[in-house]
């Protein structure tokens, strides 16, 4: 492991009006919710025309979290991974989604491939994607209560009964 301490950079780099951070050699854009679709569209024009992944993170237990310049951390975060086949480059978007209004516009029209990812994120975190053509659960049963990947959703235990075991 290297002991080199990276110097604190004062100036914040901006791309499409969003602060850019470097995370292990990958460009990460910290996008505000109202600019989200516009930024994805602008990036699509720049060549990032493939959305490989979209997922959520629940930062319920993390206190004093800092995300980046001028970005207020919220409980949920949606992480979008875009790929440019022509530039051979990845870019990641992180959008803060507040707990009391857990909604985000859907990317379906720009990247139809996010349909399953957004359904999964809704299923697992309860984040509603507005404008999604089929906002239903995908992995859990339709009548399931709760969203399993939320941090306040307890990990369940099913007692296993072994045949013939002494109890």
């Amino acid at each position: 492991m290297s002991d080199v301490v990276e110097p604190v950079v004062e100036t914040v780099e901006l791309q499409h009006g969003c602060p850019v951070v470097n995370s292990h050699g990958q460009r990460v854009l910290l996008v505000a919710r109202d600019k989200y679709v516009a930024v994805v569209k602008a990036l699509a024009d720049e060549g990032f025309d493939m959305c490989v992944d979209l997922t959520g993170v629940d930062y319920l237990n993390v206190e004093n979290r800092t995300v980046g310049a001028d970005i207020v951390p919220e409980r949920f975060e949606v992480v979008v991974n875009l790929l440019s086949l022509t530039k051979r480059e990845r870019i990641r978007l992180r959008v803060q989604v507040p707990e009391n209004d857990a909604t985000l516009p859907s990317l379906f029209d720009v990247h139809p491939g996010t349909e399953a990812h957004e359904r999964e994120t809704f299923d697992m975190f309860g984040i509603v994607f507005e404008g999604h053509p089929d906002p239903t659960r995908i992995l859990m049963p339709e009548d399931w209560d709760g969203h399993p990947l939320r941090k306040d959703y307890e990990q369940g235990n099913i007692p296993v009964q072994f045949k013939g075991a002494h109890s």
Binding site: A44, C51, V52, V57, L85, H111, G113, L149
Partner: protein, 447 residues
């Protein structure tokens, strides 16, 4: 933009403006041939529909379920098909039957134990799952540049052999689905040869947990080179047999050519990767385009199709076996000697001999297997080329020894979104060929 260009672009024809739209202006409607391919209907809505009348009008459609227990659905995939006679109009893949919350489980396991969890996702290429997980953890630890050369080349060897075993199983299941049952037996037989080698190296046929953060669990056993060479020498003549049995055979071609075609733009819009994307003519292979391990040091070709149909996808996987063999030959020539894992007492356990003589080593050994190792705060996404496409691992660490969030971008999960678009307008019998050509592994679809 000059004025002449502007007037040219604005010139409308009887079909409307003909200028090319920029990518951001394209909507799902333009990206996909038919947005209507996907049947968006819930269970209750489907249940509320009446039965087909006895003397139904010709345009009446019928909704039937295919699966979840169906020999051609590769596990427990269920398809809700809207049929008009024998023709598939719309379809909806229904998944989740194998969902066991592996991403949630991953949050409770340490980075040390995480390998046992992720290896069970795509059970046909377990070593690729472990590899992407390990690469992500190593990146967070900041040791991704310090992995010993031998470990890197061993990882490549195992990854390529795993690609071969996965594609051989594809040949088997694809043959079975199309009706070439003898191919099924041959494919399983060939795959078993590779799995036998895995058993010798890792101790298990599947779910190895062999590639771990920091390197590998053990060194290659004595005589491994002969075992690999035996596989490599055995395969070419057999692959030629399968070429005769299937590739050139008129029935096989009739059954696959032109079936389940998809365009490059559709495949990219739907996020498809791997052989599905390559079958449409897009030469995109992460091993070549975003090299990891030492793939930039070996020579191989990226196999690309042209028509995006089931036949292209079959041919691509078939020839990728040969390319993987080519890579494995180069790995055999260049396998360096050295350590098979990084000697970092914070990440990997000390060598067995050190435990007998050093109290400190014993403590480190104990701590690594009980508490695990701590990973600095941060988040990282790593994507590699699995036999099915891009498998990605997104890890958020809060500085403890468990991942705060561990997400796997499973290629099959994304690829099965293409099923409705491939099946649209085809026959029910072709639906089987289409599912087979996508080669989904339900373990990683549902996770």
């Amino acid at each position: 933009m000059s004025t002449t260009e502007n007037t040219f672009a604005a010139a409308g024809t009887s079909e409307g403006g003909q200028e090319l739209l920029s990518r951001s202006e394209l909507t799902a409607k333009e990206l996909l041939r038919e947005v209507g391919s996907v049947l968006r209907m819930s269970e209750s809505e489907a249940a509320a529909l009446g039965a087909v009348e006895h003397e139904a009008p010709e345009d009446q459609t019928m909704i039937i379920n295919m699966g979840p227990q169906h020999p051609s659905t590769h596990g427990v995939l269920r398809l809700m098909l809207e049929l008009q006679g024998e023709t598939v109009l719309r379809c909806k893949p229904i998944i989740g039957y194998l969902h066991t919350g592996m991403e949630k489980t991953g949050e409770a396991l340490t980075y040390m134990q995480g390998g046992t969890n992720v290896t069970r996702m795509d059970y046909l290429s377990p070593l690729n799952n472990e590899l992407v997980f390990s690469l992500a953890v190593e990146k967070l630890l900041g040791i991704d540049g310090d992995i010993p050369e031998r470990a890197v080349w061993m990882r490549m060897l195992l990854s390529e052999l795993n690609r071969m075993s996965s594609h051989l199983l594809f040949l088997a299941t694809n043959g079975m689905d199309i009706g070439a049952v003898s191919m099924m037996l041959y494919g399983w037989r060939e795959r078993e040869e590779v799995l036998r080698f895995f058993q010798k190296v890792t101790g298990l046929r599947m779910n190895h947990n062999f590639i771990r953060p920091g390197g590998l669990a053990a060194d290659l056993p004595a005589g491994w080179r002969d075992d690999v060479l035996a596989i490599l020498e055995n395969l070419p003549s057999r692959l030629e047999e399968y070429d005769i049995l299937m590739t050139g055979q008129p029935i096989w071609r009739e059954r696959l050519q032109g079936v389940g075609a998809i365009t490059a733009r559709e495949a990219m819009a739907l996020g498809c990767t791997g052989p599905i994307l390559r079958s449409t003519g897009v030469a995109w292979d992460l091993r070549r385009d975003m090299p990891y391990l030492r793939y930039d040091d070996v020579e191989f070709d990226v196999i690309v199709g042209q028509y995006g149909d089931a036949y292209d996808r079959y041919a691509i996987r078939f020839n990728e076996i040969r390319e993987s063999m080519r890579i494995v030959y180069q790995i055999l020539d260049r396998m360096p000697s050295g350590d098979y894992r990084i000697q970092n007492k914070k990440v990997t356990p000390p060598p067995r001999a050190r435990i007998d003589e050093s109290m400190e080593a014993l403590i480190h050994h104990f701590k690594i297997f009980t508490e695990g190792f701590k990973v600095p705060e941060g988040e990282v996404y790593v994507g590699i080329e699995s036999p099915r496409g891009e498998i990605g691992c997104y890890i958020v660490s809060d500085g403890s020894s468990n991942p705060y969030r561990m997400h796997m971008r499973a290629p099959s999960f994304v690829n099965i979104q293409a099923l409705p678009h491939m099946m649209r307008g085809g026959l029910v019998a072709d639906a089987v060929a289409v599912i087979s050509s996508v080669d989904p592994v339900l373990g990683e679809v549902d996770r």
